[in-house]
């Protein structure tokens, strides 16, 4: 076939999951696209379209392949297996169950690729090993799980023993390792992510972005282009924005335009957008458009931004300083001279990309006067605010229906596709869809702030901290995004989780002409933690003290007061974390010493330790959540939960808490998640707040409904509920009452009873010296890392990590461990390999994140020092997981080599330069 010169679409015959199918497609279209678009098999995901992520892994004639690298023409006559199929001998089915039981799928976007790579491997190597599994999965990236639970799940299937997940009864759901309740669609490949669904008549949208970091531009006759391009409906510019052409996070920082107006401030900024058929918008090149550029010298890095006479990125901020924050307590200048030892250093970190495997995508549908947007997001209610402003309509005119979210980590807190889609759908009066390319996602979405931090620390002769100072410039890029939050959080946390009587910490967010930096797991604190932990190691070294010991002496504990003046009355579990991993620390020191004594000097090992703290919830502002549970006449019990689950598991843990509040089993609930028309505002999925804040709301909603039921039944507190169809039974001691729900008065929707819970964490404003109680509670952790360094090549392999986390209460220990593993993997990436360079590492080929072979065994200790204000004692773990890892790794490198690294990532050549006394690059 195809041996002539066919132009355009061909008819191609292939077998998919055992069925013969015929498709009409462009033979050069990737098989991934054809499976998804022509055959509706959206289980095959596209994370990069370039072979780098493996999310599209399928089997072609019994061998795993990236469907994005196979042409549809090459599939002629081939036998294709996708995640939708059962796999040879039902292998994929077995793997699905094991993945679910182990918590091996978090967001689930990598899961189809993982399942197919695993299916392929086990089909040919039934008796496998961990190392062989790693080889087989080496081509599939996962950003959420840290891979360990994935490999465990596959080993289970290979060994023929599949873990059973427990079923939780009413009243004992909290603490149970139940499978994620939204997990089955993820392992079945049926979950719908942003790019997986859209109305059949939706037009496509493609954004044309600035290739220049700073430039002015003029637009020529765009109408002529539209007229000359079949299938192209319109080219949108800033003139098409019906409302305000700006968005942002805070009322005073809405500085980013939907479409630039004559002036681009970073490479990747949206200039215009093409709307039309897919062929039309992907047929026209940017250079075919009449855009005349005048390139200007960009401001690169905070150093350039702060010199006198620097180009002013935003006219309202003549010094390019977007925001600053500080904490001052005691008298640093007076106290420092009394200290026995002082340590000081400068530290540098680069842009870090979230690298969620799902690029931004979604669609908008105009419904009457309203706009309904389905997309991947972490913050549906903030999306409403921004989209309504851009459309110039009331908030009630916008509905956000979050799709499944293939990872977020902070990067999907800002709007991306939402305002673009809204404008396009409004102008066209038709549904419009968009799917970002990997490069577009990376070049336009906010990053972790690059930081330049100076810090100085001092301690007395016993190792007790006397003073701590930190001054940090955080590169917030071209637009504000979450820059103010970073500038606010860093001073509060910048001294680390320690008792320090004299503190002066300051941080600034600085505008440049680089990619905007925003929220990323930890909001600037991972960068600061590298500074405070390295200095602590310096002090320990000067005092000839054990590094664990100096942390234990200074650790914040119950009853201590933070440098912000907040007394931690409970759940300050850092001392317990440190105590938990002390045996591991000592064993590691011993192990490392023995290894190094035997080593010929080429490879040396070291062990390091890092501690962290992190305030749960938004800093000093109200951030309430509201949850609702309804019970209908027919016995339908529904949990209306507005918190989006970006993989971290909120859908599951919030249900566990709601279920225990009510006293019925989690599997008796139906769920409605995060549709802004149907659920209440549960705030955004960030700041490690959903378990803590929305968890309380969920518990209260359950308790509210329970109280109403008990009242109706005149039953006591300890009564046991059971629900069977429309019959609700309340057993109170020997007495038992049955309520026929059909006999109760119902509202228009058949609801007879409901429970509502609202909760807002206690927090107070900070004064000009950063004094106050900015958070309701803090998460704490201590981690150790053991590394092996090749002293000649400068390569670092992390060989062991032990993590002790004070989580208050682990609502679902499997999911909690999953958060810790995933955070550690991201921390390892930050420490050793991740560096986003605009224009240079805009894909997952050049931007490296850890693969399955880079993650060491991780041992976790869950410290459950209950938080009295938390639901069932719980607090957040999402962000804490990442923060302690980089300093622990850097400490281990130093222990192994004697070299103190102050710049991350520690790429092999950087460490080599330090080892050889060369100036860094």
């Amino acid at each position: 076939m195809l041996d002539k010169a066919p132009l355009g679409v061909s008819t191609i015959r292939l077998t998919v999951n055992g069925e013969a199918v015929t498709v009409s497609a462009d033979p050069f279209a990737s098989l991934a696209n054809t499976l998804r678009d022509e055959l509706g098999l959206t289980g095959t995901k596209i994370g990069c379209d370039a072979g780098d992520c493996g999310a599209c892994t399928i089997r072609v004639d019994g061998e795993q392949a990236c469907a994005c690298l196979v042409s549809t023409g090459q599939a002629e006559g081939a036998d294709i297996e996708t995640v939708e199929g059962p796999g040879p001998d039902g292998l994929t089915e077995k793997l699905r169950k094991a993945f679910l039981a182990h918590g091996a799928a978090q967001c689930g976007i990598c899961t189809p690729g993982m399942l197919m790579a695993a299916t392929d491997h086990l089909a040919r190597n039934p008796a496998t090993s961990r190392a062989e599994i790693e080889d087989a999965l080496g081509g599939v990236l996962c950003r959420c799980t840290g891979y360990l639970k994935i490999v465990d799940a596959i080993l289970d299937v290979a060994g023929g023993s599949v873990l059973e997940t427990p079923r939780a009864e009413g009243g004992n759901a909290v603490g149970a390792r139940i499978a994620r309740v939204d997990g089955w669609p993820k392992v079945a490949g049926t979950d719908l992510f942003g790019a997986d669904d859209a109305p059949a008549d939706a037009l496509w949208m493609r954004v044309v972005r600035s290739p220049h970091a700073r430039a002015t531009f003029t637009l020529g006759d765009l109408d002529a282009v539209v007229a000359a391009t079949p299938g192209l409906e319109t080219i949108l510019t800033h003139k098409d924005v019906p409302g305000e052409n700006s968005f942002g996070i805070f009322p005073h920082t809405r500085d980013q335009p939907v479409f630039a107006e004559g002036h681009a401030r970073f490479r990747g900024e949206a200039i215009v957008a093409l709307v039309g058929t897919k062929e039309a918008v992907y047929g026209l090149s940017d250079t075919d458009l009449p855009i005349a550029w005048t390139v200007e010298p960009p401001v690169t890095g905070v150093g350039e931004a702060r010199i006198d006479g620097a180009h002013v990125v935003h006219s309202g901020k003549p010094d390019n300083v977007l925001a600053s924050g500080r904490v001052k307590c005691g008298d640093v200048e007076g106290a420092r001279p009394t200290a026995a030892v002082i340590a000081e250093g400068r530290f540098e970190t680069g842009f870090v990309e979230h690298a969620y495997i799902e690029p931004e995508a979604g669609f908008a549908v105009p419904v009457g006067d309203r706009m309904e947007i389905t997309c991947c997001t972490q913050a549906p209610y903030m999306d409403i605010d921004e989209t309504a402003r851009v459309l110039g309509v009331e908030k009630s005119q916008v509905r956000i229906r979050p799709s499944a979210c293939g990872g977020g980590f902070g990067g999907k807190l800002d709007v991306s596709v939402q305002p673009l889609l809204a404008v396009a759908a409004r102008v066209m009066g038709k549904p419009v869809r968009i799917v970002y390319t990997r490069t577009e996602s990376m070049s336009s979405s906010p990053k972790r702030h690059p930081a330049q931090v100076w810090a100085r620390s001092s301690a007395d002769g016993e190792g007790r901290l006397v003073s701590f100072e930190l001054d940090g410039d955080f590169n917030t890029g071209a637009y504000a995004s979450w820059g103010p939050t970073v500038a606010g959080r860093v001073p509060v946390h910048g001294m680390g989780p320690y008792k320090v009587p004299n503190v002066l910490t300051e941080a600034r967010a600085i505008y440049t002409n680089e990619t905007p930096a925003g929220a990323f797991r930890g909001f600037g604190i991972p960068q600061a933690a590298i500074a405070h932990e390295t200095l602590l190691d310096d002090l320990a070294e000067k005092l000839k003290m054990d590094r664990w010991q100096i942390r234990r002496i200074n650790a914040l504990g119950n009853g201590d007061t933070t440098p912000s003046g907040q007394t931690l009355h409970a759940s300050a579990g850092l001392p317990e974390c440190l105590d938990a991993l002390k045996p591991d620390w000592e064993a590691a020191l011993q192990r490392v010493a023995e290894f190094n004594a035997r080593s010929d000097g080429r490879k040396r090992r070291g062990v390091g330790i890092g501690c962290m703290w992190y305030g749960c919830g938004n800093t000093s502002v109200a951030n309430p959540s509201t949850m609702r549970i309804t019970l209908k006449q027919d016995g339908t019990l529904t949990f209306f939960n507005g918190a989006v689950d970006i993989g971290q598991g909120s859908t599951t843990v919030l249900l566990q808490m709601a279920a225990d509040g009510l006293g019925l089993a989690p599997d008796q609930f139906d769920m409605v998640i995060g549709d802004t028309d149907l659920t209440f505002d549960a705030g955004k999925t960030s700041a490690s707040r959903q378990t803590y804040v929305s968890g309380n709301a969920s518990r209260l909603a359950g308790e509210d409904l329970r109280a109403k039921i008990l009242k109706l039944a005149n039953a006591g507190e300890d009564a046991r509920l059971s629900l069977d169809g429309g019959t609700l039974t309340i057993a109170d001691g020997q007495a038992s009452r049955t309520i026929d729900l059909a006999t109760l008065e119902a509202d228009g929707e058949g609801i007879v009873l409901d429970g509502i819970g609202t909760w807002d964490p206690p927090a107070t404003a900070l004064d000009e010296n950063g004094q106050g109680s900015p958070y309701g509670t803090y998460g704490f952790a201590a981690q150790t890392a053991e590394v092996e360094v090749d002293m000649r090549l400068g390569t670092v392999k992390v060989i062991d990590i032990v993590a002790a986390h004070d989580v208050g209460r682990a609502i679902n220990p499997t999911l909690t461990e999953g958060q810790i593993h995933g955070g550690i993997a991201q921390g390892l990436g930050l420490a050793l390999m991740e560096e986003y360079l605009p224009g240079r590492t805009e894909n997952l080929h050049d931007y490296l994140i850890p693969t399955v072979g880079d993650i060491p065994p991780i041992k976790t200790y869950l410290i459950e020092d209950a938080e009295p204000t938390g639901p069932y004692g719980a607090k957040g773990v999402g962000e804490p997981a990442l923060i302690a890892t980089p300093p622990a790794i850097l400490g281990a490198i130093r222990h192994a080599t004697g070299v103190t690294v102050r710049q991350v990532p520690v790429l092999p050549h950087r460490l080599w330069e330090s080892l050889n006394g060369e100036s860094g690059s």
Binding site: D3, F28, L69, Q74, R792, L793, V852
Partner: protein, 289 residues
């Protein structure tokens, strides 16, 4: 929309090749990523496509008394699994570390050299094996030594009307053992910062009588280290790691890029070669072919 040709014979393919400019498509593991990078910045232009993957005669691996012939569609996975002389152990090791299994299953050895990236892992292996590249066009066939095939950064002598049809490798000398080492910043799916390949043969008394050593990613085009090879000949294999001198690496011109600095590459190349020699001298016959 551009045309897409999928001939089943070489003759037809060469006719298409001669008739118009086309993008040759084999395993697609370079063609598609390059396209994705362009589309990411709004460059939608594309040539007609000549998909050679259905040409049966390009799929064979043949071993004769004096040479081995790898058809142009031989994939990394086929190389990895093939039963080959010990001199190929390095090339086979490289095959295990190119991309992930997905890429190894589709990507071809020939596609790798046609892309001619400085970081192409196959190139130093082929240099160390004294490979020749067989090209065909409607005008006829020719063979070109690998060191002449790649002429610069992503440049080869493959003409617009030509296709590479095979890699030809002379049967290595008796006792020849190959090895390969690659350096990158993560475990899997990593583009080499530097890589080295060597084939060394020693006689029964352990004296080296054949040595070829090549280094990649440390110059525009991977290079053989002829001075080093000359220094090895006639010396005991066990002493090979100690014979390395800085001057032997003069042919390399490492540059700095986002993966590493030039200074570092220069130093790493020497360490990798030494490591490779240590492995080769420690266990000369350790591998099953």
């Amino acid at each position: 929309m551009a045309a897409y040709f999928r001939p089943t014979t070489l003759e037809e393919a060469l006719a298409v090749r001669a008739a118009q400019p086309v993008t040759v498509l084999a395993g697609g593991t370079d063609v598609y990523p390059i396209r994705a990078n362009k589309v990411g910045w709004g460059d939608m232009h594309r040539d007609d496509v000549l998909d050679i993957s259905a040409i049966a005669e390009l799929k064979e691996i043949e071993q004769t008394a004096d040479r081995l012939r790898f058809g142009a569609l031989t994939t990394w996975s086929q190389m990895r699994r093939a039963d080959l002389p010990e001199a190929f152990a390095g090339y086979q090791a490289a095959s295990r570390d190119v991309g992930g299994v997905q890429v190894q299953n589709r990507g071809t050895l020939v596609g790798n050299i046609c892309t001619a990236s400085p970081a192409g892992d196959g190139i130093p292996c082929l240099l160390s094996l004294d490979a020749e590249i067989e090209l065909a066009s409607a005008r006829g066939r020719r063979t070109v030594p690998i060191q002449d095939f790649i002429t610069g950064y992503r440049q080869t002598v493959c003409g617009h009307d030509e296709l590479v049809t095979a890699i030809l490798i002379p049967r290595p000398p008796a006792g020849a053992v190959g090895d390969f080492l690659k350096l990158g910043a993560r475990r899997y799916l990593v583009i080499s910062i530097a890589m080295v390949a060597a084939v060394i043969a020693a006689d029964d008394t352990g004296v080296i009588h054949h040595a070829s050593v090549a280094v990649g990613a440390c110059s525009e085009v991977a290079k053989r280290l002829h001075d080093l090879e000359a220094a090895l000949l006639g010396q005991p294999l066990a002493s090979a790691p100690d014979l390395i001198e800085h001057a032997h690496f003069a042919a390399l011109k490492p540059i700095g890029d986002l993966r590493a600095s030039g200074h570092y590459r220069d130093s790493a190349a020497r360490d990798l070669v030494r490591d490779l020699f240590v492995r080769l001298s420690a266990e000369p016959k350790r591998r099953a072919a």
